[in-house]
Symmetry: C4
Subunit: 195 residues, 4 copies
Amino acid sequence: MSEGMGRGRLEAFSDGVIAIIITIMVLELKVPHNADFAALKPVLPVFLSYVLSFIYVGIYWNNHHHMLNMTQHISGAVMWANLHLLFWLSLIPFTTAWMGENHFEAAPTALYGWVLLMAAIAYWLLERTIARMQGDDSPLAAAIGRDIKGKISPVLYAAGIASAWVEPRIAGAIYVLVALMWLIPDRRIERRLRH
Amino acid sequence: MSEGMGRGRLEAFSDGVIAIIITIMVLELKVPHNADFAALKPVLPVFLSYVLSFIYVGIYWNNHHHMLNMTQHISGAVMWANLHLLFWLSLIPFTTAWMGENHFEAAPTALYGWVLLMAAIAYWLLERTIARMQGDDSPLAAAIGRDIKGKISPVLYAAGIASAWVEPRIAGAIYVLVALMWLIPDRRIERRLRH
Amino acid sequence: MSEGMGRGRLEAFSDGVIAIIITIMVLELKVPHNADFAALKPVLPVFLSYVLSFIYVGIYWNNHHHMLNMTQHISGAVMWANLHLLFWLSLIPFTTAWMGENHFEAAPTALYGWVLLMAAIAYWLLERTIARMQGDDSPLAAAIGRDIKGKISPVLYAAGIASAWVEPRIAGAIYVLVALMWLIPDRRIERRLRH
Amino acid sequence: MSEGMGRGRLEAFSDGVIAIIITIMVLELKVPHNADFAALKPVLPVFLSYVLSFIYVGIYWNNHHHMLNMTQHISGAVMWANLHLLFWLSLIPFTTAWMGENHFEAAPTALYGWVLLMAAIAYWLLERTIARMQGDDSPLAAAIGRDIKGKISPVLYAAGIASAWVEPRIAGAIYVLVALMWLIPDRRIERRLRH
């Protein structure tokens, strides 16, 4: 738990955990016993929730990479904030399968959003922990200040969780919307980094 | 999502995902309850499809490595094109098990080819994305122009999918053929690279 | 089995194994068939034991990282002492699931503590093996001398195993206590390393 | 498939696959439904075969590391010889579980030895492929000439396979013997490498 830890091994470990999370989700696609396409029908909702979760985990991997690029040293607090984020991400395969196998019913759809919300909070905590270690004039602290997506996402997840009890399809649409929001490249940041 | 991302972590993450894909397929080889060799008989078609998929994933890992060797920087678009490829590869364990457990019947054999086709298209998209970033006079753009195997493969996969409905064994033979085509080393390229 | 092995690949391999251990535990969270929150009730004890084990594996990864930071070369003996540690850690998913699925009954709770005890002993053996290779005046040998947590933990695990037969909740409380003890950062060491 | 590939990514990929193989074996330790130690009894033979296979995979990881340390460049042939070795290693979780769940009966014990034999042959092929690339006066070619363990092991595996049909316990004893033979450090080589 020293300030002297480099970021290399933290990245490698996080990459390993995220790679496993994104891949073991596919194990929840249970192989049907029949050999016609009709047998795939019950797999379809699990597949759709797999696609959504694959994109979410991909977004987290991408953002995680960029955030760590802005730091050199890792304190014990950063390490545990990172493990805390990985913990919530590791629950995504479970909530994905529960939501998919129950055809996007209220409770599983709400829980799916809740784990996304907790992951977003964990990500924000990790970001704050790194920024605090670096001081208020660090580039990361400035980036957090401008991070509009990061501030809107938790609000949208909460809206998704609430609307799951009214109509799960609204919740699903909100989760897709947040994913799309993150998928669209942030031209301003890319330009800034190029200079 | 910056142009400033190095290729190291993209390679490490892709390696992790591909290593997991190639290994979890073996979990579909269900351990038989009896202790004689006759009990292995139902495992045999799953084993054969495992061998074929192992070779395919190995080919993708190999080609992926060489393609990334030709680039230094990774843009957000490249990162998502890469995740898109990993997505289709991650479905191979599912289609492998479905095809194997149903003894190469029409629908599973067609779906197996379809996932291979989508992976080939995703690979081509990734290649184009990197080449566009580098400009038309890049070594990668030149390599794509000469890439005959990459152009024939999708046509053969499509032929495999179509023939699965007539006689799945023809489809299987075509998939084996494409794998062999990629396994045979490309002496011309090796020679070129040595100079 | 040479003294000439660098520590990089040992770290990478250990990271891979630990990342898989920490992630496959989540596969024991069996997806319930019903879609209401009541269906999650039987998953809850498995979830709680998952949280505890996640923290334990995180602690081991963290400490493992710091210990290896104090060495440059790896002998054959170190490599096997490291594999021995990974072996006991690899049993944590099994004992976690057994304890969780049986609602913290005596035998599973005792076995859970026993695997923690064996992992602690394996960690101590690895530490001793590296220190012996480096000589008695090495920084690691000095660190072991001061390592109070490392000396108390096995005693507490043994107390946990014994008390599981009287009241498993006492054992559970002890395991949580040991985890908390390790989670609290060791300010003295961090300060020392900063200088 | 170029001679220009560095060995770093081959090592990283192999480490990933071997780390997954050594860890997913533990998933075959099926969690018993009862909470007393008697419920662990059927798990015991699976556990014992897990211990043996863990050691074997550890030995392969160790030897693989040392062999690759003696080479800098990787040809297409080396890459496929390496994937061929990983293929046979990937079957160890299956044969381990089949042997363990059937209490070391004849057929599973023979198949277990057969996969070990194929892995040994694949290892030898990989070694020869690297040595051929480097030329007959390479240090690796010299090391192969002196490699007595590598020459005895396949003979012992074959003896194990044959004796499994007479008395599986003899086969088991032979597999344990080969593992011990590899575990004992090779002082001569360590000394040579130190100079």
